[in-house]
């Protein structure tokens, strides 16, 4: 079976992906990532060689369904404020602090 070679992932697509992932990329990084993205996609696309004629579609591998818990508070697992904030880079009066999100 022949695997189609995926076209070059353009830097504008990479820019969009970076934006979605909240990453700042320099122009050089953008340029160098273009062939990397393309080759990764080509590698992964080898999966298309598999014959899936008799395999039904699923998004689950466990075969489980309807896994629930009862509506109960599990106070043992609730963290204290100190614990919750213990790995935070910036905190203030019990809050996590991040750079201002401007809502315009």
């Amino acid at each position: 079976m022949k695997v189609a070679v995926i076209k070059i992932v353009t830097s504008s697509i990479i820019k969009h992906i970076a934006q979605l992932a909240n990453l700042d990329l320099s122009d050089e990084e953008l340029k160098s990532m273009s062939p990397q993205f393309s080759s990764i996609l080509n590698l992964v696309s080898k999966i298309k060689k598999l014959d899936t004629t008799n395999v039904s579609e699923t998004s689950q591998v466990t075969g489980q369904e309807n896994v629930f818990r009862e509506d109960e508070v599990d106070s043992k697992r609730i963290l204290t404020q100190e614990e919750a904030l213990s790995n935070a880079k910036n905190k203030h009066n019990g809050y996590f602090v991040v750079d201002a999100i401007f809502e315009e």
Partner: protein
């Protein structure tokens, strides 16, 4: 430029209709859909055992590895939250698909610790529902918009309209952001106490045509949510949040021509500044979403603001930009939030940590049995059982508490000195009619928060039976009734005391209600004992 709001449509007098004898109109119609988020009042969060009641707790004191999105933590679905979402779907006349699942909605925003929200994409818990609203609901607190008043004058009958529900799905709420200055630097503060609280999203089709219809729809939805008891829907705490989607289209064109009909060419000119349409379903090619409004009246104001803004743009030959806008409640305006546009690529995929849900038919029919009497069913029952007008019934069933108070009063049995309600256990053939009680409650003659149902009956009895006939006349009537009913008299003497109520009713009718039940009863007993056997 002048716009006249009428029945949710806008009529514009166009400035370029310059012929003195020709007035040109473009009719605009607003197209509105709503997305409503409701926090459920479960005990615990959607996917972990933290408290769902996050309000008022000190920041970040109600979190765990799951709702903080710590690596390796795994979500487990709250059964009750899922059931309640399905219940709401059923109450909104939805289909409940046999198969459902959760999906990941990916976006970066600091209120979301994991970088994604667990939501539902293509397999929501409920789809294709509808909610019927009365478009000239007679309780009208709005004074600035004449829609209701006009309709009421024209047509006193209730106009019904079906608003289709596209879907009802379940997701998790986000953390709360505060914007502040710390150490001279502008920052955002995050509290994750709310993160992971069960959140139901209801999405309507764009069937709403005015801000007033939106308000009526929301009010009805609010009643249903409260009726099935799945949320307090407390807007001050943000447990019910509204996002209207608004666009405006041109509907028709009218030219009132006094002199000649040669205005045909003018009409063409007038038609040009219209929004391009989507050919497939005739909806405008754009829509504007206003985010996170937390009151019905702000929703109405935001919608009206947007409609006026769009009409102004359309009249200048522009199409409004498709965008997300915020609502500034202090200024009473909406403002562009274009920064949020970029992120509208959510890359949904099935949530790998949560197995899908599949309902057995018996489970769904079981859910249906759990639905209590919904407001519209109650309304119909009030009209039928208590012989009330639709107007009365709407007001009495508007608030659950009022309806309960009314029914309690109706069913009272043992109020000393007062006959109960006619046709009901406390009254039988005599007594106050339900309509009288309805009037007292509706006209606020008594404060139902202070006056008990027993007291209300007594108040009504005292007032309605003030015009009482003199004793001797009452005696005359009683004697007459007794003579007409020898059989009843005999029954009474043989110990069938329940005949007394029958006679009481006859006497009450004989005096045309101008006496009170207790007086009649006393006198009846006296005379019955005096009378010789017939």
């Amino acid at each position: 430029m002048k716009g006249i709001l009428r029945f949710g449509r806008y009529q514009m007098v166009l400035p370029f209709a310059q012929n003195d004898n020709t007035i040109m109109y473009i009719n605009y119609e607003s197209i509105i859909g709503l997305e409503i988020h409701v926090e459920l009042k479960t005990k615990s969060k959607m996917f972990c055992g933290c408290y769902a009641d996050w309000f008022g707790k000190s920041p970040n004191s109600n979190t765990c590895p799951v709702c903080l999105g710590l690596p390796g933590a795994l979500p487990v679905t709250n059964k009750k939250a899922v059931e309640w979402c399905v219940l709401l779907g059923i109450a909104l006349n939805c289909e409940i698909p046999e198969f459902s699942k959760f999906d990941r909605k990916n976006y970066f925003y600091p209120d979301l610790a994991k970088g994604y929200q667990i939501s539902q994409y293509d397999k929501p818990f409920a789809i294709n529902g509808s909610l019927e609203i009365n478009t000239n609901q007679l309780i009208n607190q709005s004074t600035n918009k004449p829609i209701n008043a006009t309709m009421k004058q024209l047509n006193n009958e209730t106009m019904k309209k079906k608003i289709r529900i596209r879907r009802v799905h379940l997701e998790e709420d986000t953390g709360k952001l505060l914007h502040d200055v710390v150490g001279g630097k502008r920052v955002s503060l995050i509290d994750f106490n709310r993160s992971g609280v069960p959140l139901v999203e209801i999405v309507t089709e764009p069937d709403i045509r005015s801000s007033e219809e939106a308000r009526i729809f929301l009010k009805k939805l609010y009643q249903i949510i409260r009726c099935i008891g799945i949320s307090d829907a407390d807007m001050e705490k943000g447990s019910l949040r509204i996002e209207p989607n608004i666009s405006v289209r041109e509907t028709s064109l009218r030219a009132s021509v006094k002199q000649s009909l040669s205005a045909q060419t003018d009409i063409k000119i007038a038609t040009s500044p219209s929004a391009p349409r989507n050919d497939t379903n005739d909806l405008p090619s754009y829509k504007v979403e206003v985010k996170n409004i937390n009151s019905f009246s702000f929703t109405r104001k935001a919608i009206d603001f947007e409609i006026a803004r769009h009409i102004d743009l359309l009249n200048h030959g522009e199409t409004p930009i498709q965008e997300t806008r915020g609502w500034d409640e202090k200024k009473g305006i909406t403002y562009s939030q274009r920064s949020k546009e970029e992120a509208h690529d959510y890359r949904y995929f099935p949530e790998p940590d949560i197995p899908p849900i599949r309902w057995a038919e018996s489970q769904i029919s079981n859910f249906k049995l759990q639905i209590p009497e919904l407001p519209n069913v109650k309304l119909a029952r009030f009209m039928k059982d208590y012989q009330l007008s639709e107007y009365d019934a709407i007001i009495l069933t508007d608030e659950k508490e009022t309806a309960e108070y009314f029914e309690k009063t109706i069913s009272l049995k043992d109020t000393p000195g007062v006959a109960g309600v006619q046709g009901f256990p406390g009254g039988g053939e005599i007594g106050i009619i339900p309509k009288t009680i309805a009037n007292w409650i509706i006209n606020k003659k008594a404060d139902i928060n202070k006056v008990s149902p027993e007291k209300l009956l007594k108040l009504i009895a005292d007032q309605t039976q003030r015009s009482i006939i003199p004793d001797d006349e009452l005696e005359k009537v009683i004697k007459k009734i007794l003579l007409e009913n020898p059989r009843a008299m005999a029954d009474y003497k043989s110990g069938k005391e329940n005949v007394l109520m029958f006679l009481l009713g006859q006497v009450m009718r004989g005096v045309k209600g101008k006496s009170n039940a207790e007086d009649i009863k006393q006198k009846l007993k006296l005379l019955l004992n005096l009378y010789p056997d017939v």
